[in-house]
C-alpha cells in the first residue's frame, strides 16, 4: 500500500512489520517521532511487544542486548550524542554477536550543541563490528529495516540502518508499505542458536583469555582473538549473504537491485560522484545539469558502508577519470572516512592497471549547513576540470 509519510514513520512501520518484540529507547532529536510512533503501536495493541522507556541510551542498548540474548527480536533507535553515549554497548552487542537492528537518524555531534544533520555520529561508530546501511529515501528506510533483520539474524551481527535527520526523518514522501504476509514470508521468526533459559544454563560473555582454553570435556574453546577474528571474517562474508537477501527481497517484493551500491548514470560516466545517504539524490540533480553541458558524470550511492564493498566499488569505478567523494563527516586530522576507504579499495584492486581514477574529496553539510545544489554543480564541474586540492575541500565555508 502506498502512503505519504515521513522517514521516521517509514522506519517505525518497518519495525512493526518485522514483529520486533522488545523495543527500548531514550528520546533524542531527530529520532523521537520514530520511537514515539512505536510506543503508540504498542500501547494501541497493534504490536505485540514490550516498550521500555529507559533512562539513557546506554540502557536502551543494554535492554536490547539482554533481550536479544534471551531470544527476543529487539530494536532501538538514536541520534548523535545518544549514539556516542551508547558506544560501549555498541561494541558489546557486536562482540556478543547479537542480531539487533538500530536506526541511526543522523545528526551532528557536540560540542558545540547542534541538532541538525550530518553523519559524524554513525561514521564515528565505523569500527565497532556493526553492519552499516545508509538510506537515500523513505522506501529505502522501510525496506532496509526489513532486510536488516533478515541479514542480522542470518549472520548474527547487529545492523545500523542510518538515514539523514530532518532531510529524511521529518520530510514526507510517498512510499510503499509492504504487505504483512510478504514480510512474514521474507523474514522467518527469530530462532537464535542459544537463548538464556534455566533448562540449558550458560554463562555468556565471561572473561575470555588471550589464548584458547580447554572446556571440561577437554575440547578447545576459542580464545578472545578467535572470537574477534570470526566477527571480522563473518562480517566480510555477510556481503555475499546481503546479496542473497537482496535477491530474495526482489523476488518477493518486486523491487531492489544492487545490494551495495546505487549507481545513477555511471555506465558511460568519466567522472563519478560518490556519497552516503540523501545527498546522493541531490547529486543526481547536479549530474543531470552537468550532463546537459556535455560532461559525462554519474553518481553512486554507497548503501553498505560496513562491511565495505571494496571489490564492487573498485569494479564500478575502474577506468573512470575521476571519483569525487562528498561526505557529511570526516576523520579529523585527515579526510573523509569514506574517501579513505574508497581510495584504499581502488589501490588494492586497480594499482598498476592504469585504470586508477583520480580521487577528490568534498566535505559538505556539516552541522546541517545547507547544501545548495548549485554548490554541488560547481564543485563537481570543477573536479572534472582538474584536481581542486590534495586536501578535502569544505563546501560553503565562510572564513
Amino acid at each position: 500500500m502506498h502512503i505519504i509519510e515521513n522517514g521516521n514513520v517509514a522506519a517505525a512501520l518497518g519495525v512493526k512489520l518485522c514483529h520486533a518484540n522488545v523495543i527500548a529507547a531514550y528520546p533524542i532529536t531527530p529520532q523521537t517521532p520514530l520511537t514515539e510512533k512505536l510506543s503508540e503501536y504498542v500501547e494501541a495493541g497493534e504490536m505485540k511487544a514490550e516498550y521500555i522507556p529507559v533512562e539513557s541510551e546506554h540502557s536502551a542498548l543494554a535492554v536490547c542486548i539482554a533481550a536479544s540474548s534471551a531470544g527476543a527480536r529487539s530494536f532501538t533507535a538514536t541520534s548523535a550524542n545518544g549514539l556516542l553515549y551508547m558506544h560501549e554497548q555498541v561494541q558489546w552487542a557486536a562482540g556478543a554477536r547479537l542480531p539487533l537492528v538500530m536506526c541511526v537518524v543522523n545528526r551532528a555531534v557536540g560540542a558545540p550543541w547542534n541538532v541538525w544533520n550530518d553523519q559524524q555520529d554513525s561514521i564515528s561508530q565505523r569500527d565497532t563490528g556493526w553492519i552499516q546501511m545508509y538510506c537515500s529515501d523513505h522506501q529505502q528506510i522501510i525496506d532496509s529495516v526489513i532486510k536488516a533483520y533478515w541479514l542480522a539474524e542470518k549472520v548474527s551481527i547487529p545492523i545500523m540502518v542510518c538515514y539523514d535527520g530532518y532531510i529524511l526523518s521529518h520530510t514526507y514522501m510517498p512510499f510503499d508499505v509492504p504487505d504483512q504476509e510478504k514480510v512474514d514470508k521474507f523474514l522467518p521468526p527469530f530462532r537464535p542458536d542459544y537463548a538464556l533459559n534455566p533448562e540449558t544454563p550458560a554463562n555468556l560473555n565471561t572473561v575470555t583469555l588471550p589464548d584458547v582454553r580447554m572446556d571440561v570435556k577437554g575440547e578447545l574453546a576459542h580464545g578472545y582473538m578467535e572470537i574477534r577474528y570470526l566477527l571480522h571474517e563473518e562480517m566480510r562474508t555477510s556481503l555475499a549473504v546481503a546479496a542473497e537477501g537482496e535477491k530474495r527481497f526482489a523476488d518477493i517484493f518486486g523491487r531492489g537491485g544492487d545490494p551495495y551500491l546505487e549507481p545513477y548514470l555511471c555506465d558511460d560516466a568519466q567522472y563519478v560522484a560518490v556519497g552516503l545517504g540523501s545527498m546522493t539524490y541531490q547529486l543526481r540533480v547536479a549530474v543531470d545539469t552537468l550532463r546537459k553541458e556535455g560532461i559525462k558524470v554519474g553518481v553512486m550511492g554507497v548503501r553498505f558502508y560496513r562491511p565495505f564493498p571494496d571489490e564492487a566499488i573498485a569494479k564500478a569505478l575502474k577506468g573512470k577519470k575521476g571519483v569525487i567523494v562528498y561526505e557529511k563527516a570526516l576523520s579529523y586530522g585527515y579526510e573523509g572516512a569514506l574517501v579513505s576507504d574508497l581510495k584504499s579499495a581502488l589501490y588494492e584492486y586497480l594499482a598498476g592497471t592504469g585504470k586508477l581514477p583520480v580521487v577528490q574529496n568534498f566535505i559538505a553539510g556539516i552541522g546541517g549547513r545547507d547544501i545548495k545544489t548549485d554548490d554541488l554543480i560547481q564543485t563537481l564541474r570543477a573536479a572534472t576540470q582538474g584536481r581542486v586540492s590534495i586536501q578535502p575541500v569544505w563546501i560553503g565555508l565562510k572564513l
Binding site: 521500555i52 533512562e55 546506554h58 535492554v63 540474548s69 550458560a202
Partner: protein
Amino acid sequence: MQAKTTILSLPTEEFVHPGTRACTGCGLAIAYRVGLKALGKDTILVVPPSCLTVLQGLFPIASTKLPCLNVTFASTAAAASGILATLKVQGKDNIQVAAWAGDGGTSDIGLQALSGAAERGENFIYFCYDNEGYMNTGVQRSGTTPIGAVTANTPFKGKLQQKKDVPAIMAAHNLSYVAACSAAYPLDLFDKIKKCMDMPGTKYFHIHIPCPPGWGYDARYGIKVGRLAVETGYYDLYEIVNGEFKLTAASEKLVEKRKLVPVREYFRSQSRFKILTDEQIAATQSQIDAKWAKYYKKDE
C-alpha cells in the same frame, strides 16, 4: 510469618560449583552460594564486571549452574529489564531475574540504570554485594567505602567522606522490599530472599561482604569481622517492607539486649582502619549511639 531457616533446613542443592576463583575467605562466596539456593533453579542472573565475574570463572568454564548474562559495568539493571521484557513476551512467568553487582557497580557507575529500573517497577531482585571498595581492581575507594578506610587511592589519609546510604536511596523509590544483609548472617539473607520473591516491582538487597585482602584481616576471620560490624551497631540488618522499616535477625536482638560492642573492636579488627585516631573512633561511636537511641526509643 514463615519459619526461620536453619543450617539443617537449608536446601542441599548447590548452584555454585566448588572451587571458584574467589579469594580465600571471600564473603561473597558465602552470600552468593546461599543466595542462589534461595533463588532456586528457575533463575536468570545478570552480572556486571566485579569480583563475581572472577568468582564465576574463565571461558569456557563457569562455576555457576544458572544461566547468566555478563553485561557492561553501568548497565546491570537495564539488562535485567531486557530479560524481563523478553520473558514477558515469551509468556514465561515462572522465571526469577536476579542481578548481582558490587558496590562500585551499584552505588557509583550503575546507580542511574538501577534507579531507572526501580522507577519503572521492573520485577526483579537486585543484589548489591558491598565489600566497600573496588576490590577487583585492587582496592580503590567507592561510594560505599566507609569514612576512615585506607584504600589504594586514599593511601595515607583514608577516605574522607561518609559511606553512601544506597538502601535509603532505593527505599526512596517506594520499593516493595529493601533489605540490608550480611555475608556473616547467610540464613537471614536466605529468608529475606524467600520472603520477597513474590512481591511486585524491584526488590533491593544490600549485602555487607567482608573482604580479606581489601579490609586487611586474616582470611579465617571473615565471619567474625562481619558479625562485629553488626554487633557494634555499625552495620544494621533490616528490611523495609512497603515502607515499613524493621531490624531483623541479630540487629533485632541487639535492641532487646540494649548493649552494643564498642565500635573500636570492629575498627581494630582490620588494617584498613589503622590510621583512625581515638577521636575519630569516638565520633563514630557517638553516631552509632545516636542511631541506636532512636531504635531503642521506637522499641519502647
